[in-house]
Each structure stands twice: as C-alpha cells, then as structure tokens.
Symmetry: C2
Subunit: 209 residues, 2 copies
Amino acid sequence: MYNKLMDKKISEKVINRLTLYHCILQDFISKGNEYISSKQIATLLHIDDSQVRKDINLLNNSGKSRVGYIVRELKKSIETTLGFAKTKKAYIIGAGNLGMALAKYDNFASYGFNIIGLFDNDSKKIGTEINNKKILDIKNLEQAAKKHGVEIAILTVPGKYAQKTAEHIVKSNLKYIWNFTPVVLDVPDDIQVWNENLMGNFLQFTYKI
Amino acid sequence: MYNKLMDKKISEKVINRLTLYHCILQDFISKGNEYISSKQIATLLHIDDSQVRKDINLLNNSGKSRVGYIVRELKKSIETTLGFAKTKKAYIIGAGNLGMALAKYDNFASYGFNIIGLFDNDSKKIGTEINNKKILDIKNLEQAAKKHGVEIAILTVPGKYAQKTAEHIVKSNLKYIWNFTPVVLDVPDDIQVWNENLMGNFLQFTYKI
C-alpha cells in the first residue's frame, strides 16, 4: 500500500497523537462502538477537532461514513502507517522496578514491539521470570542478542551503573538504546540513543504551574 | 532576575535539551570539571554545537570564559530558567512496579519536584515505606492532598483501573495528572492531563528502523 508518511519526515507530535488515537480506538472497540467522530477524539484529548481530521487525512484511511470513522478501519490505518506490522525485538537491561514495570506493560506487544527477555547481574533474579519473560545473566547478552537477532536495549539500571552498562551493550553489538536512566550516555556515533527524559517531559508539563 | 524565557512560549524541545544539558553538568561536577564547551555537550548528545550555543544563549548565563562555560554557573542558569527553585509536590497513585520505580528516582528532587507519598488500595502495601515515602490508603487522598497542598497526581495504576482512579483523583480535588497508563483519560476540562505516552515516544524513535 502506498504510504504517504514514508515520503516525508514524520513529525514527532503527529506520531505521538496517532498513538493516542490508537489507544482511544482500542477502548472504543472494547466497548463495542463501531463509529467514532473527530470531535469525540478531540474532546478526550482536549485538542481541536480540525487537528484530528488533519492527522487522520495523512493516513490511507477509507473508512469514513456519515456517522464518523469506522473504528476498526481507522485503527488498522494507524497500525499500517506507523509500521506496527514490522515486529521489533528488544531486551530490558536491568530487572529493577522500572524494568519489571516495562516487562509487564503488555500494551507494547500490540504495537509490534516484542520484549523477549531481561538481563541483570543479580544472581537472585537470574533464572526467574516476569510476565513470561526470562531474566538472564548480563554476561550472556552478546550471545543471546546474536542468536535472537535483537538490536534494541531498554536501559533501566540505576543511574550510577548506566554508563558502564551502556558500554557493555555496545560491546555486545546491540545498535539502539532506549535510555530510561537520568544519565547522558557516552557511546560511539553509530549507536542510536533515545533518551526517555522523564524530567524534561515533566518540566514541559509543569513549567507554567 | 529578568528571565527571557518567561516572555515567550518555551519550545518543548528546548526544555528537553536543557534538562539533558543539566544531567551532563551534574556529571561534570561530580567528576570535578570546572569548565565545559558547547562542543563537549554537543558530542555527548550527537547534536550540532551551534544548537547548544543557541539554547544556552536563551539563558541568563554570564559564566562564559575563553575555556568554556563555567559548569556550576551554567547549571544554576538552567535551574533558574526552568523554575526548579519553585518546589512542586506530587503524589504517586499506584504503588506497583512503576510507582515504586518513580518513588526511587531521586533525580526528581534535584529538579524541585517533590514526591511526598504514594497511594494504593492494597492493604498489604498501605503503611509501608519506599525510599522514605509512605504508602497511604487511596481513600484518604482528598484529605491528605488538602492538608499538604498537593495538586499533582502521577498515575501509575494498571490500565484497567486508570479511568476509575482518575475519577477518584478529580473528586479528591487534585488538578494535574501525569498519566503513565496507556489509557486516554476522560476528565473535566479544568483538569490538566499530561500523557506520558511511552509507546508514542518509542515509535518516534524506531519508525525508521
């Protein structure tokens, strides 16, 4: 299918809104609703409905009727556009509270994002399971990643171990780090780091309070 | 002090970068470094150093020498500009793995963000402590929030309880919800919701992989 978004740089804000629309559509489906209007989506997100229509117009969505968008078709359009179909495998590095929380976050799977295991250096944790995912010995990261074709690491260790662990991830030949630690990692240029900067997100929200 | 950023809408990207610079500066201080160049910051973040200089020019930063910015002064400028001095109090609602992880995240405090307690409905958790913060009975939220002047709720309950819990938060007179659940909340217009849309963040990062 021709995908308009492929041709341009997708704005981060549009991607973010589309995933929120997707959450709303899932909720509508679970409630048995067949149609949804741009106004309904806009009201839930406290944004303008012209914005919602503009975003949806970027999709290859044909499921528009007089009573609104067809919920299932709109959901599928978002999935196609954002590439959920292409499954991405990842490991969580650090089986503390945050790593455990992310391992339990089943919503990831419905976006084609597959967390296939956790790694830690705590012998009490190694060999146990969380949400059907094994906790493995960090020493075996390289071997496991190679075997299962995993290139994404979700880094959730305490800040003081972040840099050292990142270096181990790089040595283990993973290529992408989703960094949940409050540390800016010093890694080679060919490693892509996405900083999940919770404090920055919070300040964007609250600087006007 | 005159604050240039007060006069304009701060771009979310600038705020986000400033908090990352702040992380780097904290790290430099702990390593005993007195000066930092825009190039050093830019290299760590894999961005252009002209961008770093442009962001720093927005601050009231006078600590520039021939060998670079004075680390401590630059750090203080960021803190003043982003309003860290004004402490904001919050409760975590939901003492599961994610709530626990955020309660342990000491970095928040250095940004003037004070998590003063957690709330849950699990009698086994109520009365215990995590990182010197008490876990309290969700039934007492309204009373506690009023007593301590807390207006921010960090929502970390499982998705299926998100809407119901949000309604309880609203009834308890809190005004801001930092929503970590994958659910779009249906709340009145005067309640501000910040969706910490992890999946959206992830897709921004990975849609090109």
